[in-house]
């Protein structure tokens, strides 16, 4: 606990901030522009906004929010399909809180709930196993979104359902993986990123080595970091040091949580139950092998195999979440931001999610 208290100590914070600004200024002098860093993780985006670090650094370091919020990267058609599942009254849909408020093309799960549909918010996916046990006459479907941080827990529910011999539990999997999206961003060259602030929680599962490809194939540095303000500033500092020295490597600055090989048990669990799968990303399209699907031998737990739902092509809105999650534009550049789209009446998922870039900007960085 002592250690954690220091991580938000105001004196250390202000000193760290000064050190970062000093280094950023040196960068500006040498390269003629300010450094561009991307924080991949949605929780980092929120922390940068909430602590005021992003506002404070805006003239010195450009921090771009990356594609790290699981709700935000889910494409509209997947959202519509998941919501459509709620129409059948014999089903209980379980999901995370944010998903309930995400607007579908026609309605949201929250609206479905007001019509009497059984939609339950769970904090742990394992709670949905209990719900399935208590409601044997109903089909319990978990709407499984998430990155590598969440996927092992989703798989753990399958393991549990298998152990308990449940036949009324399935997952509707729309999971996403970090490496393929980073590759897509770097190959796309729509934005120039000088370095990455790498996601702490994902790295706990995947390990430091999972980011070696950034160095070997793209010649770009990254720092794995935690979520406390001092850690975030230290990560920026270390990344700037790298950029100035010309040394390219992945630094693990979240050592008390992240190992080189990650969480072996979690990885084995994923390997046992899952195959790679082409996933559709919001505003980007399908990326090869960028998600997981249940292996054929576990098809009885696969909601996509068990239930057949078809939805129309989503209607187009002016929502620019797709570009926002790639860091191409900032929320303020979207015409809907804080006008037609607010946390209370969101149009895009980035405004709904507690990790969404638009929500972060609306809640913590809006001035007017």
């Amino acid at each position: 606990m002592e250690h954690l208290i220091h991580l938000s100590n105001p004196i250390i914070l202000r000193k760290s901030l000064e050190a970062v600004i000093q280094l950023a200024e040196q960068y500006k002098k040498e390269k003629g522009r300010i450094p561009v860093l991307m924080e991949v993780c949605g929780s980092h985006t929120m922390a940068f906004a909430k602590t005021g670090i992003k506002t404070r650094l805006k003239d010195h370091v450009r921090l771009i929010a990356g594609p790290g919020c699981p709700v935000c990267v889910t494409d509209q058609k997947s959202i519509d399909t998941m919501i459509e599942l709620s129409r059948d009254t014999n089903r209980i849909l379980c999901t995370f809180g944010d998903m309930v408020r995400v607007p579908g093309s026609k309605f949201s799960l929250m609206e479905a709930k007001t019509e009497g549909k059984d939609i339950r918010v769970v904090y742990s996916p394992l709670d949905s196993i209990k719900i399935a046990e208590e409601n044997p006459e109903k089909e319990v479907i978990f709407l499984g979104i998430g990155f590598e941080t969440t996927i092992p827990i989703l798989v753990a529910t399958i393991q549990e359902a298998e152990k308990k011999g449940l036949t009324n539990y399935t997952i509707w999997m729309t999971t996403k993986l970090v490496e393929p999206i980073l590759r897509t961003l770097l190959n796309g060259k729509e934005i120039n990123i000088d370095g990455f602030l790498l996601p702490g929680h994902v790295s706990v599962v995947t390990g430091k080595n999972s980011f070696d490809f950034l160095v070997k194939e793209y010649g770009i540095s990254g720092v794995i970091t935690g979520f406390e303000p001092v850690e975030l500033l230290r990560a920026i500092y270390k990344l700037l040091q790298q950029l100035l020295s010309g040394k390219i490597e992945i630094i693990n600055d979240y050592k008390y949580m992240v190992k080189n090989d990650g969480n072996i048990v979690a990885k084995k669990l994923m390997e046992k139950y899952l195959d790679y799968h082409d996933e559709a990303w919001r505003g980007i399209g399908v990326i090869q092998n960028s998600g997981f699907i249940l292996k054929p031998e576990y098809a009885i737990f696969d909601a996509k195999k068990k239930f057949h739902v078809s939805v129309e092509e989503p209607r187009k809105t002016k929502c620019r979440c797709g570009e926002i999650i790639q860091g191409v534009i900032t929320p303020e550049e979207c015409i809907l931001f804080s006008r037609g789209c607010t946390p209370l009446f969101p149009i895009g998922p980035c405004m709904v999610s507690t990790e969404g870039t638009c929500a972060a900007h609306y809640q913590y960085m809006k001035e007017g």
Partner: protein, 336 residues
């Protein structure tokens, strides 16, 4: 002996009579009021304050209190922060068929205890029973009346630049206590709800100090929402110092895990005060010497007045400032 509430308890007949006699009057007393259909009270002031509130908290029992205690403290505090001396409370109960009588007795008992502590009497009530599934266990409505002494009037219009913002103790305790009590979240903390009647403390303050401009109890929506509303109504700007706001470590930790912001969590035994800066020492002295205000702190000040648009700004530990808004969307349903 009947163990559970049935629809007959709400029919107005013999069982209703027994329920009122054995449960409510037994705890609340005040037999003199039961002879007429309405309670009659004597006025001894020229200004009367009235407030009403419904209580639907889930679960009914939580660390530090229960729905009964909350139904008293919530209404007492609404009166107290308006400068009124709470006098009497009415209580309406909507009970679900099948509700255990033992639980009802516990809830009524804790209402009676809290009312006694706060020095208010429960003078009228009503009970309805609805079919199973029509409500979740038990809902309570309380209406409170209080008198305002001439010397206890608040003058929010006197707010001026330099006035200080005080909070009477740690923020977010009730919210986290409720979250922990809802076992489905799997979060275990020792945090107790702060629910308590603040009227004696606030009356002492109004008795001894002149420069209290306005008071609010930051319940649903938390400190942020209360202050945003206050600033909008009074057309002023408040600047809060993030690192001065007292928050329990356990509350902060729970917020980190669950993604909540303590400034938006409900409190049920805290008051926000805007005070003339010359009276700060006196106010803090009184607060900190009282059990319910021992963690009181100055958390910010009024930096602008007579603005068209009032707002609340928060200075973060790194020295940058961000604006606070009302709570938007859903945080925790059925918190009180």
């Amino acid at each position: 002996m009947v163990q559970r509430i049935s629809l007959t308890h709400g029919e107005g007949g013999e069982l209703t009579h027994r329920l009122i006699k054995d449960v409510f009057i037994k705890s609340f007393g005040n037999l003199q009021h039961t002879q007429l259909d309405a309670a009659i009270i004597k006025l001894n002031a020229s200004k009367l304050a009235v407030t009403t509130d419904c209580y639907v908290v889930k679960p009914l029992f939580f660390p530090g209190g229960d729905i009964g205690k909350l139904a008293i403290t919530g209404t007492v505090n609404d009166l107290a922060v308006s400068g009124a001396t709470p006098q009497a409370i009415t209580a309406g109960f909507i009970l679900e068929e099948g509700f255990p009588l033992r639980q009802l007795k516990l809830i009524v008992k804790s209402m009676a205890e809290e009312a006694k502590k706060a020095g208010v009497s429960i003078i009228a009530g009503d009970t309805k029973v609805v079919e199973k599934g029509s409500v979740d266990g038990l809902f309570i409505n309380t209406t409170g009346i209080g008198f305002i002494k001439e010397t206890h009037q608040l003058y929010p219009e006197n707010i001026s630049v330099g006035d200080m913002v005080i909070v009477s103790g740690t923020v977010g305790d009730h919210g986290i206590a409720i979250v922990s009590a809802r076992e489905e979240l799997g979060l275990m903390t020792d945090v107790q709800s702060d629910c308590a009647s603040l009227n004696h403390l606030l009356q002492e303050l109004l008795e001894k100090v002149d420069g209290i401009r306005v008071m609010r109890d930051p319940t649903r929506g938390g400190v942020s929402t209360s202050l945003v509303e206050l600033c909008e109504e009074l057309h002023c700007t408040i600047e809060l110092e993030d690192s001065s706001i007292p928050i329990r470590q356990e509350v902060e930790g729970a917020c980190d895990i669950l993604g909540f912001d303590p400034l938006y969590l409900a409190n049920e035994g805290k008051v926000l005060l805007i005070v003339d800066k010359n009276q700060i020492d006196c106010v803090l002295d009184i607060l900190q010497n009282h059990e319910l205000g021992k963690d009181a702190k100055v958390i910010g000040q009024i930096t602008e007045c007579q603005k068209e648009e009032g707002k609340v700004l928060l200075k973060t530990p790194i020295g940058s400032t961000r604006r606070l808004f009302r709570l938007s969307g859903l945080l925790l349903p059925r918190i009180c």
